[in-house]
């Protein structure tokens, strides 16, 4: 095992809004990221991925549990800058909301460079900003643009460039390629791989794009209703999934087929997810939608256990199948 740079232990997050119900966005998440490696995070919309991302970089405090960066707690910055601002950077899911509308691209980049003492003169900062833009396939003509003068994909790339500007050791990327065409997406992915190889960066890569998650990640954590339900090396998690939810997720990916017009693999898991408010359903949180559910699933909540070496899952049926026949695929097609 390499050096663990980020570790979250039993993190929970609750939101209580005005007159609204209590929302349990995270219900005890533990993850670790090693230096130079990528942890992919997948899971359906609303399962808590962006919330986890904000907690990991110290933007919000956890309700309980701890997040440690390089062995020290990531305290939420009280007004000032986090002591970790140079160690870890977050690329937000919504790039426009993370860019200051009053700053041109060059000012936004120059500001972070200046704060961290990374380029001393004005000219040096402008040159560095241009080089950063070039890395994300944007020419120098974008230096003097305001955020509202950028397209969705251009704003997303500016946000990535700004995160890279401080030369962080860990990047938390929340849907970083969702607004990019497939060619630019390939370019950004190639950049991320190259930076990791050259500088040993670590990534937490959150995306609905399973092909990209698979491409970049060493490990994948699958989240469902605020908890990790499966975790392990990318291949086994996606190709011999232990948890029925992961299997359904991996089977539902539509493939653009160049010979046949429409190509659809698999069907989405039945009904909708139960709400995050109120008491969580008794037993396994996935049981209302699970084709393999058994009586025990409605009463006993499965724990996240290491069922195969390095491969964890929270599922009664998977645990039993693995115990009976360790070689057989846990979730049959």
């Amino acid at each position: 095992m390499g050096e663990v740079i980020l570790r979250a232990s039993q993190v929970t997050k609750e939101y209580r809004s005005r007159r609204g119900p209590l929302v349990r966005a995270l219900r005890g998440v533990s993850i670790a990221v090693e230096a130079g490696r990528t942890l992919g995070i997948v899971g359906e919309s609303g399962c808590g991925k962006s919330t986890l991302a904000r907690l990991l970089v110290g933007l919000e405090p956890a309700t309980s549990g701890t997040v440690e960066l390089l062995g020290r707690p990531v305290a939420p910055p009280r007004g000032g800058r986090s002591p970790f601002a140079r160690t870890v950077q977050l690329v937000f899911q919504d790039p426009f909301s993370s860019l200051d509308p009053r700053l041109t691209v060059v000012s936004a980049l120059a500001e972070v460079l200046k704060v961290h003492g990374l380029a001393t003169s004005r000219e040096a900062r402008r040159a560095r900003a241009a080089a950063l833009l070039e890395m994300v396939a944007l020419g120098p003509r974008f230096l003097d643009r305001y955020p509202h003068e950028l397209s969705g994909g251009q704003a997303q790339r500016v946000a990535i460039a700004r995160a890279l500007a401080v030369e962080p050791r860990l990047l938390v990327l929340d849907e970083p390629t969702s607004a990019l065409d497939v060619s630019v997406r390939a370019e950004v992915m190639n950049l991320l791989v190259r930076l990791q190889d050259e500088l040993g960066l670590s990534y937490v890569f959150i995306s609905h794009d399973l092909a990209m998650v698979r491409h970049l990640s060493d490990e994948i954590a699958v989240m469902y209703l605020g908890a990790v339900v499966e975790q392990g090396p990318y291949g086994p998690v996606l190709e011999s999934s232990l948890h029925p939810y992961t299997a359904a997720l991996a089977a539902a990916v539509p493939v653009p087929d160049t010979t046949r017009h429409v190509h659809r693999d698999g069907r989405p898991p039945g009904s909708e997810a139960p709400p995050l408010t109120g008491e969580p359903p008794a037993g396994c949180p996935y049981h209302p939608r699970c084709a393999l559910a058994e009586p025990v699933c409605t009463t006993v909540r499965p724990t996240l256990d290491e069922l195969l070496p390095g491969h964890l899952a929270a599922c009664h049926v998977a645990a039993r199948r693995v115990a009976v026949a360790p070689g057989a695929p846990p979730v049959p097609g």
Binding site: E175, A179, D257
Partner: protein, 326 residues
């Protein structure tokens, strides 16, 4: 093709400066008929969002404006309507799902208020509006519509917001839905549900759909016809099956070639189109793809190709696909 319900002809968008005009969208023609689904794909920054915004007069102006062109809806020239008349078309007849939800949602108002207000502006009474709001929020696969209704935008996840935007657009039962990257924050299962909902409405009510997306899987799954944009123009237009089977423009071919292959190894280099797109406001004569095109020849530097017939498709390229293999 059946008569167009919504038609754009020669749409040019840009800035008018003292001495000259700077064009970002440089003459776009598009049309959708009743019950038809048109996809718009293309390079990031090619003008897809600006084209979509121009339909309902929503361009950020100043500085941007419709420099030329005609936008007709159901026989009416939209670009000559006054603000009040346009506001009546917006939402009730043509609805839009914006690429950036936060630009169109008010951060200070609950979701319920925002949807019911739009409905009431189009004549629904209080009870009808409340009922309809609940109904559409239920249709877009939100697990907890009651909480979502009462929430403020910042209390929702990216994908929840996208579904609120879709619900809001569908609430007024529009005849045309223009959706700009509406499912980027949705997992495939919920995305599927949304596509099914849209298809159902299209079949039942004849709603026409314009779907802007980078997701070629969604294109293959949803739309009948595709327009491919590059540097402010439509460079190819084709039936969906033809586009995938026989791309007629080198940019389309390169885009399809950038799709990840199952044979690409973990962390191996992904195929990308080399070079960078040109600044559409500073184009010299010739084809704007020529710096990146493997098939460029003399004529490509002299003259920009118009859309030419290529079998059942149309492509803005001087060279026929048969002549690509040099």
């Amino acid at each position: 093709m059946a008569d167009a319900l919504l038609e754009l002809r020669g749409v040019r968008i840009g800035m008018r400066e003292r001495r000259r005009q700077r064009e970002i969208v440089r003459g776009v023609d598009l049309a959708v008929a009743v019950g038809e689904k048109l996809g718009i794909v293309g390079e990031s920054g090619s003008g897809k969002t600006l084209t979509a915004l121009s339909v309902l007069g929503l361009l950020p102006s100043p500085p941007l404006r419709l420099l030329a062109g005609r936008i007709t809806y159901d026989g009416r020239l939209l670009n000559e309507l006054d603000d009040k008349a346009l506001a009546a078309v917006r939402g009730a007849e043509i609805a839009m799902v914006y690429q950036d939800p936060m630009t169109s949602l008010n951060p200070l108002l609950r979701i319920r208020t925002q949807i019911t207000e739009t409905l009431r502006a189009h004549g629904a009474d209080r009870a009808e509006a409340a009922e309809r709001t609940r109904q559409v929020l239920g249709q877009v696969g939100l697990a907890d519509p009651e909480r979502v209704e009462r929430a403020f935008p910042h209390e929702l996840s990216g994908g929840m917001l996208q579904r609120v935007m879709i619900a809001m657009a569908l609430a007024g039962s529009p005849r045309v839905l223009i959706a700009d990257e509406p499912t980027t924050a949705l997992d495939v299962t919920i995305q599927q549900q949304i596509l099914e909902l849209v298809e159902d409405l299209q079949v039942r009510t004849g709603m026409a759909v314009v779907w802007v997306t980078h997701d070629l899987g969604v294109v293959a799954r949803l739309v009948d016809r595709v327009a491919v944009m590059y540097a402010g123009r439509v460079v190819e237009e084709a039936a969906t099956a033809d586009l995938f089977a026989r791309p007629s423009h080198p940019y389309t071919a390169a885009l399809l070639g950038s799709l990840p292959q199952t044979s690409t190894g973990h962390r191996d280099r992904l195929t990308q189109i080399g070079g960078t797109p040109p600044d559409p406001t500073r184009l010299a004569a010739g084809c704007p793809f020529r710096w990146r095109c493997p098939y460029a020849f003399d004529r490509c530097t002299e003259e920009e190709p118009p859309l030419l017939e290529r079998g059942s498709s149309r492509a803005a390229c001087w060279k026929e696909p048969a002549a690509w293999a040099r």
